[in-house]
């Protein structure tokens, strides 16, 4: 613990910083969006956190916010600091850290594609992997992958002879794929666990019962 005291001292200068020592080599820092670049600059310049491992994004749809997490690593301290910040979901704009960390280009482009967060100052804000995709960013919680799939694709019917024979003898598949795929009220349930529960209650036929 004493090893990382320096980080606390360095970040004292910034307003509204919460530092949490989760484990020996994992530190979580929460900052307001305005002072994020300051924190990263201090970490890089004064505490040897030179390696940006990843930038990740979380969609908090109920709070109306995106959470951006910058994971920075120090080879001297052998310690990972994850800097959390929250930005407005409607605006979905943030400042790029490309001038601090060059790999940020790659991560920011990825987040722009998957979540639609635009990074001002990032060199290449364009299509990256999903070059064939024209809908809304697919990682958003708004985007319903199941219903998109249901509206876009057809399915192969699966009804072989051996299955028909089994069904005549009273056996068969317990939960058919068509039932799992979006069947009315089941789809409205939020989690798979609830669905499974409902299935178990309703399931009369099948080899399990």
């Amino acid at each position: 613990m004493n090893k990382h005291k320096s980080i606390d001292e360095i970040l004292k200068k910034v307003n509204d910083v919460k530092i949490l020592h989760k484990r020996e080599r994992r530190i979580r820092v929460d900052v307001a969006a305005d002072s994020l670049t300051t924190v990263l600059e201090l970490l890089k310049g004064q505490a040897s956190f030179v390696h940006l491992s990843a930038i990740s994004c979380v969609d908090w749809i109920d709070d109306g916010e995106f959470e951006l997490v910058y994971h920075v690593w120090s080879y001297e301290e052998n310690c990972l600091v994850s800097v959390h910040t929250r930005i407005d979901r409607e605006k979905a704009k943030f400042v790029s850290v490309y001038d601090l960390y060059k790999p940020a280009d790659f991560f920011e482009r990825d987040i722009y594609e998957m979540y639609g967060v635009f990074f001002i100052g990032s060199p290449r804000m364009e299509k990256f992997i999903l070059t064939e995709w024209h809908g809304i960013p697919p990682m958003l919680k708004d985007f319903d992958s199941e219903s998109y799939v249901q509206n876009t694709f057809n399915w192969t019917e699966y009804n072989p002879d051996w299955l028909q024979e089994l069904e005549q003898q009273g056996g068969g598949i317990a939960i058919k794929p068509e039932e799992i795929r979006l069947s009315g009220e089941l789809h409205n349930m939020s989690t798979h666990r609830e669905r499974d529960k409902k299935k178990k209650q309703d399931n009369v036929k099948g080899w399990k019962s």
Binding site: E132, W133, V149, T152, W155, P177
Partner: protein, 236 residues
């Protein structure tokens, strides 16, 4: 789902009594020597090395891996096909010379497999390409792969009697259907470098279903492909 086709194809009936013997002989020879291009998109590819090498030995069936689509007979697609990959698969398929065969390995090519919820993967491969044989399983063992290849061989050999080994002709006969599904995914400006309609005319496989509203759309946007300019940069 398959409608009966009103084919105005060139009649394939032979008047020479010996012609059938030759046809059979040719298809027998074709079934004994197949070059396979494996487009390894997913995890199913891991079952191919044992199927090819000494343990199960694909080559005793006369099947050999080939490196380029233009010299290959079989296009083997192992695993999920994402929308992005599907474009490349179609380009590869259209480059191959007839007769050509497609094998879909793993449940992903049949129905999306475990990626059925994903927005990025195409679900039924035979909507976009005519598939000869599906080998289901997640993943199928090399025995199953060999079994599927054996079935394809038999289909090719008995093609005149059973009409199972010529799915590639379906691509020309019902090009509008396949093109429609491709346009549904890739947008209306989808165009491949190969002129399938001209090839259908060449093979004499034009039917009424070769044309339709989707091919009309294609002809509307189709740009002729020009050779790329050759530029040589000379150092002064």
């Amino acid at each position: 789902m398959k409608k009966e086709l009103k084919i105005k194809e060139k009649s394939t009936e032979r008047t020479n009594p010996l012609a059938r013997v030759f046809d059979d002989f040719i298809s027998f020879c074709q079934s004994k020597s197949l070059f396979m291009l494996h487009y390894c998109t997913g995890c199913g590819a891991i079952e191919l090395p044992p199927a090819m090498t000494s343990r199960f030995d694909m080559e005793r069936l006369g099947i050999q891996p080939m490196v380029t689509p233009r010299q290959a007979d079989i296009l083997l697609i192992t695993g999920y096909v994402s929308v992005k990959t599907l474009k490349r698969v179609i380009l590869t398929y259209e480059q191959m010379q007839s007769p050509k065969y497609v094998i879909g390995i793993c449940s992903c090519t049949v129905n999306g497999g475990m990626y059925w919820q994903s927005y990025a993967t195409a679900k039924k491969l035979n909507e976009y390409l005519p598939v000869d044989v599906y080998i289901a399983g997640c993943m199928p063992r090399p025995e199953a792969v060999i079994e599927g290849l054996q079935r394809l061989k038999n289909n090719i050999k008995n093609d005149r009697k059973e009409q199972k080994g010529s799915a590639w002709k379906d691509y020309f006969r019902r090009y509008d259907y396949y093109l429609g599904n491709q346009q549904h995914l890739f947008g209306d400006d989808w165009q491949t470098p190969t002129d399938i309609i001209a090839e259908a005319k060449l093979y004499g496989l034009e039917t009424e279903e070769t044309y339709g509203k989707h091919t009309d759309q294609l002809l509307k946007i189709q740009k002729p492909l020009l050779p790329q300019e050759m530029k040589v940069r000379m150092k002064p």
